[in-house]
């Protein structure tokens, strides 16, 4: 009996939270599309979310491409491995690993930072102060962050794609002794434009999820330093899970 009550409570609170998030997001979008627009803030957020994430995203992509090539080589049939490795690395990176890894890395960096920043602003009354200075916090704080991530994540994904493929290439040429020009030719032969654009669309969705979670949990944090810490954790966990779940949905939509 107690178990059923607990289960019911959990399900109800999950629905409640989802509802709150939806209200928060529709409010942000509704208010965000009305002027005034804060262009300078948008640019500085694009710099912080995009440019400053480049090293992390590039490093992760490089090693993932490299390890992918190694595993296909060890695990697979080593006969004809040259074209198989090039094609699987190219498709795997552009379709799935590039956007997902870029998304997860940015989720760790950015949604945590946003939740901590907005959370601190909330618990120190800075968000209330914004309101009393006739500035709408949804327009001033939330919208620039969400929009910046939606614009910038596809670009980060392209970088991840290129560097991930380069990682596979480096392993193939340096460790496995493949012919570089044939490897490149194989990669180009297998790649199609849809592989890359689908990854970019996915990552735009991830960018939206990452920043909305960061903003939502930061905005609604309470209870001092501990509350801000909780908001940060929630933002990272929620955005990571949402990235993986929505990736599954998007893949089944795009490639069915």
């Amino acid at each position: 009996m107690r178990f059923i009550i607990l289960l019911g409570d959990t399900i109800l609170s999950a629905f409640r939270e989802t509802g709150r998030i939806c209200v928060f997001l529709s409010k942000s979008l509704f208010l965000g599309i009305q002027p005034p627009y804060f262009w300078k803030l948008l640019l500085s957020q694009m710099f912080r979310i995009g440019y400053l994430s480049l090293p992390v995203v590039a490093l992760t992509a490089f090693f993932t491409g490299a390890v992918l090539a190694l595993q296909i080589y060890y695990g697979g049939n080593q006969f004809n491995s040259e074209s198989i490795i090039a094609s699987i690395v190219a498709l795997g990176i552009t379709r799935e690993l590039g956007p997902v890894l870029a998304g997860l890395m940015v989720a760790g960096r950015v949604s945590a930072a946003i939740a901590a920043e907005l959370g601190t602003m909330r618990v120190t009354d800075q968000i209330d102060a914004l309101v009393t200075l006739s500035t709408n916090p949804f327009k001033y704080l939330v919208m620039p962050r969400i929009l910046a991530a939606v614009l910038v994540l596809p670009l980060l994904t392209i970088v991840a794609d290129v560097i991930g493929i380069l990682g596979g290439f480096a392993v193939g040429v340096e460790n496995l002794g493949f012919n570089p020009s044939i490897y490149v030719q194989n990669t180009l032969d297998f790649l199609e434009r849809d592989d890359i654009t689908s990854g970019m669309i996915k990552s735009a969705v991830f960018g939206f999820l990452i920043t909305s979670m960061g903003c939502y949990y930061g905005f609604n944090s309470s209870g001092g330093a501990q509350g801000v810490g909780r908001a940060t954790t929630n933002a990272v966990v929620a955005s990571s899970i949402l990235i993986l779940a929505s990736n599954y949905i998007l893949t089944s939509v795009f490639f069915s």
């Binding site: 005034p36 602003m121 120190t124 009354d125 800075q126 209330d128 102060a129 914004l130 309101v131 009393t132 200075l133 006739s134 500035t135 709408n136 001033y140």
Partner: protein, 255 residues
């Protein structure tokens, strides 16, 4: 109807009732000071007036208009007439001091930033802070300096409705007196209506036309500042003289 009016405002957090039917009137161009023990709900009351907290019951009227539940344009219009000093200063720590002071002018009113900066520096001077301070970050200031910057920010747009949550707490007596005079001047010069919270009885005597005392979620006493000493109310007497013995004692510790 008075310029600002609270009628039957109730606010609770969970089980805890903080405001239990506040009725209060503030005349246009006058200065009201709220007294009350720590934790008695003064800051919560200000937040309810500003619409930052939503009372469960009752309403707030400002200039003939009910402001509880006001949204969008209408709310922004009222807020643009309001200057608020938060108890903990609440400066934007990512911005410089002058940008903090000029924030409402630049973002709220679209004033060019050079012009806004000039006004910000004037306002900083009026709270006793030099031009150099304007270039610092809030984290580089002392607590009292932060409070004064927040005060400068609150009055930067020459609002005609002012809320000050403990404007002189954390200041030395001389700076405190300067701030008191500034508040009196601002109210006189702009003809503003001010509602302040303070624990400093001398400061209250200086800046108040009227004084109200909040106790157990209600306005216990409300009268002319000059008549504070002859209120005939033992709670007020005890509070004003800071005596530990009296009717307030037991209940305060029970909270």
């Amino acid at each position: 109807m008075a310029f600002m009016e609270l009628k039957g405002v109730h606010k609770r957090f969970g089980e805890k009732i903080v405001l239990d039917g506040i009725d209060l009137e503030v005349e246009r161009g006058s200065s009201l000071v709220i007294l009350g023990g720590s934790g008695s709900g003064k800051s919560v009351m200000l937040r309810c007036i500003l619409g930052l907290l939503h009372p469960e019951d009752g309403g707030v009227w400002i200039d003939g208009r009910e402001t509880t539940g006001l949204r969008g344009r209408a709310r922004e219009e009222i807020l643009s007439r309001i200057g608020m000093l938060f108890q903990n200063a609440a400066l934007f720590d990512s911005l410089r001091v002058w940008e903090n002071v000029a924030f409402g002018l630049i973002q709220g009113r679209g004033m060019p930033s050079r012009q806004a900066k000039k006004i910000a520096i004037e306002k900083l001077e009026s709270v006793g802070l030099g031009e150099m301070v304007g270039e610092l970050r809030p984290s580089e200031l002392s607590g009292g300096m932060q409070k004064r910057v927040a005060l400068a920010r609150a009055i930067a747009g020459d609002p005609d409705i002012l809320f000050f949550d403990e404007p002189t707490t954390g200041l030395d007596p001389i700076t405190g007196a300067i701030i008191d005079r500034l508040i009196v001047d601002t109210v006189k010069r702009v003809g503003a209506t001010a509602l302040s919270i303070t624990h400093d009885i001398n400061s209250a005597r200086t800046i108040a036309d009227k004084i109200a005392m909040l106790y157990k979620g209600r306005i216990l006493w409300h009268g002319e500042a000059a008549r504070l000493d002859e209120s005939g109310n033992e709670y007020v007497d005890q509070f004003v003289h800071g005596r530990t013995e009296g009717p307030i004692e037991m209940e305060l510790y029970k909270l």
